[in-house]
Subunit: 403 residues, 2 copies
């Protein structure tokens, strides 16, 4: 993998560049489409290609449980398995093991909001006791079976799943965990990162896969900065070819601190490595993250929102289940070039949702993914054109009705 | 609409031809894809086009209840509503009003089989008392509201829905109803057919829509023949331009009597009118119906089977949920040219079904519709080539393992 910065936005950490992988080039900043179980929900691979997606991320936790990493390996990796021929990523499985593992019944959220009560989030703190220095024990959400993930087993799983870019196994703490716990956890994540690197270099001596370390540290500036320093020092370089090829930024944020927390980290991380902000897909967050120097973002929001009938427009979100749309024969957005808007009216999509037709999810997902992909592409262009802040202001004033 | 017979198969009633509609030409025999609620379940309009479908049939009952015929009319008809630009059909709403109407809780089946116990079918007999000479009262399966369909209201609904080919409102009796009831019902269907013709000619003086009468008569030769004679006499002709443009053959059959019952009818019906066998999609039934002189067939089986993981192959059906497919990296069929087989393995499709992913239904439906469309196209070609019976024997010996 080769990352090249082509343009920086003066006075900010923002940059536009390219990531070259063995399966194609990603123009950054780029939104990474999530294909959790080796499928982008409700879409065919052909539809993903038609959307102009550049890279697909699958979840190691899900593929490990179903169909199992051996099957994916036999298929030639998850890209071939799902017929996606472009660049691919997998996460480490850590976040899902912590947040989905039935034994913990937790509710770790990547962005704390009114929807995720503090009680739920804090309740995960005690459950983190299931983590030891060796790894994490969790129960499958499918059949309740017990599993044990370690840095080494995550590397093995991701090796078999075979994505171009993979992530080191990290501990994702609750944002409400005590400072002392988060500090201890950060040390553990650092030790795990080194174990991942060692295992990765053993498995992948030809460097087919690029390994990203994950920066944690909750909402604490000193912890975030420490993580960026220690893990940043392990970046690959001409002298240390077997180091990390990129960085993920993980954990839970509040809406207001994404830009701040990400800046702490990106001011320290080696500039020449790509940075992936994990699990972020809200338009404003994407602007903030790009401004703060992130290159990649993945999020299930466009598809999950879509399946629930919530659609992005430049004038904000609309809920297509609203009664006013049943006889609205205009497209979701008049000037949208997506398949859905080119072919269908709001009335038709509203009908499909009311009639519980699967095609509703397909058409809504196509529109929402298209919207976010194009938005991030425009951010990239605005870095080249030098009008990023103008674009951000214009977009947000319409989308969020900001004055 | 113009129907032309291009080739007849000697010694049989089979024929190959074309139906010209204002929205395109249908090469017959042709399988009609069912888009119940103005959507072929789990597929986009683009996917329907890619499958090479020639004509789509929507159900008047469903569209009348949801989103309502006014909405479909405002959209410019169901074809425009769903972005299908080719030829279209609607049924009369009668079959669903009888079989789905919640008040009746009945289970009228088009093909009686082991899956449809005789008790269920016979239980509809008493419920047919809800039918009067005026029309049929039924309750919506969605909200329990009461509705009344008449021949006139069915014509009005179908006029608004705007398909190229529509059907007269008929009474679909239970096959186990007493002979006397079926005879009486047939008289009613005849009177309804004439009322439909009158209403249709009033609504559609420019003959934008072609109207098909429906031949009923259960499993009784004399009734079937009577229906074919009386309704056949009302065919459009140079002298009677406002007559019926085609014929549907409705009702319930057993597997063994389709060919026989359809032959009774088609020997009598005017040869120059297209004949649509309603609700039939099993390969052997399609062969039998083509041999017996039918030109069109519609059935939800390919998509419904597909959503349940049952896939057509030339060696019979396979259930992709079977454990043996989880590591089978061959396509559903090696020599199949459908999108699914060109891009995906059985293992991947098996994974999608086990993971409850919507794309499973999409990929399975694509394969099954492709299979049936190509099968009927090959039947058509075999009429031209004169090797219909050879093709039928070859196909059935593999598909049904017949000796």
């Amino acid at each position: 993998m080769k990352f090249s910065i082509e343009k920086k936005l003066e006075g900010t950490l923002a940059r536009a560049g390219t990531i070259e992988t063995q399966n194609g080039v990603i123009e950054t900043p780029a939104f990474v489409v999530v294909g959790t179980k080796a499928t982008v929900k409700a879409l065919t691979a052909e539809q993903i290609r038609s959307l102009g997606a550049q890279v697909v991320l699958a979840n190691t936790y899900h593929l490990y449980l179903q169909p199992g990493t051996d099957i994916v390996e036999k298929a030639g990796g998850f890209g071939k398995f799902m017929d996606w021929h472009g660049p691919t990523m997998t996460d480490s499985g850590g976040f899902q093991a912590f947040s989905l593992g039935a034994a913990f019944g937790s509710a770790v959220s990547k962005v704390a909001s009114a929807d995720a009560p503090v009680e739920d989030i804090s309740s995960t703190a005690g459950q983190l006791a299931k983590v030891t220095d060796e790894g994490v024990t969790f129960k499958s959400h499918i059949d309740g079976s017990t599993h044990f993930f370690t840095p080494e087993s995550s590397m093995e799983a991701q090796w078999k799943i075979g994505a171009d870019m993979i992530f080191a196994f990290d501990e994702c703490t609750s944002p409400t965990a005590p400072y002392e716990y988060q500090k201890k956890s950060l040390d553990r994540t650092y030790e795990w990162a080194k174990r991942c690197l060692a295992k990765h270099n053993e498995l992948d001596s030809e460097k087919k896969q690029a390994l990203f370390a994950v920066i944690q540290g909750g909402r604490h500036q000193d912890l975030r900065e420490e993580a960026a320093k220690t893990l940043g020092a392990l970046a690959s370089s001409p002298e240390l070819a077997e180091g990390f090829d990129g960085y993920g930024i993980g954990g839970s944020f509040t809406k207001d601190d994404i830009a701040t927390a990400v800046s702490w980290v990106n001011k320290i991380l080696p500039e020449e490595k790509p940075r992936h902000l994990l699990g972020i897909g809200e338009p404003r967050d994407l602007f903030d993250a790009v401004e703060a120097g992130c290159d990649l973002f993945d999020c299930i929001a466009p598809t999950r929102m879509g399946r629930h009938g919530t659609l992005h427009t430049h004038d904000g979100r609309l809920n297509i289940r609203n009664a006013k749309f049943v006889d609205d024969f205009t497209p979701i957005e008049n000037d949208c070039s997506c398949y859905t808007c080119a072919h269908h009216s709001r009335a038709y999509i509203a009908h499909l949702f009311r009639a519980d037709e699967m095609t509703a999810a397909t058409l809504a997902s196509i529109h929402n993914i298209h919207f976010i992909l194009r938005l991030v592409e425009k951010m990239r262009q605005s870095i080249f054109d030098g009008d990023f802040f103008e674009f951000k202001k214009d977009f947000c004033s319409r989308y969020y009705k900001e004055v």
